[in-house]
Symmetry: C2
Subunit: 196 residues, 2 copies
């Protein structure tokens, strides 16, 4: 019994992984349950033993990825870290998500628009809160003179957009290592915030 | 006669502008010639007095926007400018394109995939050359110790991705002025390249 539950859990995980890859490649609307079943290697009807609907799959992918982001944001909320360190940790976290969890992260960032209510509003609220926390870290860093007086909104946008741009690294076939990408991006983006 | 040519030219310009806005909003594949004619305020059949096909419209939008990028790149190829100045000029140019020529720039960056041959290969070659010139400026800045030793490829990606991210500023309804966005982004991205 325990073994069968584990087996079911791993099958569901496989479904989520394959769905995430397909949603990224083709987009949520163009991905059919039939294609997904084929990719997983089961009958389309069997998919419904594991999940209720295509919408539910999208929700699970996006909300568990959002959880990981929220957990990391909470983890850096420490008095022992200054705002430069917090910002660096955020950049490294997002770069790693984009490099190591590309499908899930891409789907969260690009396909959330296909969520249905109440998940859609719930997600956009979470995202707004997340971005506000990031801007608050930048604003605190500026007020404490750890950082140059940039607009937190613009710096947040620059950082998150740069991370999104790693999509092109994925597609380019460039042989630059993930760690090198991360270190260079941190060097550039944190360097630009620090006071000279 | 001269007046009628001018009138025809301005009608064509209007068609290109409306098409650019529609391609950005709905994507090239989902935009129909019928919708475009309606937006311009003429009969669908009359469109063909001005342009041959939807593909031709896409080509004109993308290639004239690419021309503007290439002209700017040539314009900064001056011995009187150091590489920090050249890079700053590139960032300002791209930010201004994204802010003031949003439709055209967005269509070039996102919809080029729908070009047909020979335009598709021609465009990707131009783009590769353009990016290589940008990386060469960064590499020269590093070798002359004007800039920190970052990977030119990663810095190029960070800069162009940050500019693309201004799409979210357009959509956010934020009241941050274009000039303020530009100055902040330059401050952050150039600051991160300079040697301390």
């Amino acid at each position: 019994m325990a073994k069968s539950i584990r087996k079911k859990a791993s099958k569901k995980e496989l479904i989520l992984q394959r769905a995430s890859a397909m949603f990224r490649e083709k987009g949520f609307p163009a991905t059919s349950m039939r294609d997904l079943a084929e990719s997983v290697g089961i009958e389309a009807a069997s998919l419904y033993n594991h999940i209720q609907s295509k919408s539910e799959i999208l929700q699970e992918i996006i909300f568990r990825t959002a959880n990981d982001c929220n957990v990391h944001m909470d983890r850096i909320d420490l008095p022992s870290l200054n705002n430069i360190q917090k910002t660096e940790s955020l950049i490294r976290f997002h770069v790693q998500m984009m490099l190591n969890r590309f499908d899930d992260y891409y789907v969260m960032v690009n396909e959330w628009i296909h969520l249905t209510e109440p998940y859609l509003t719930n997600f956009t609220t979470q995202r707004r809160n997340y971005v506000q926390k990031m801007e608050a870290i930048l604003a605190d860093g500026i007020s404490k003179k750890e950082m140059k007086p940039v607009l937190p909104y613009v710096a947040m946008l620059t950082i998150l957009s740069s991370v999104r741009g790693l999509e092109f690294w994925h597609r380019s076939g460039k042989k630059v290592l993930a760690q090198t990408m991360e270190d260079n991006m941190v060097n550039h983006l944190i360097g630009g915030l620090k006071k000279n």
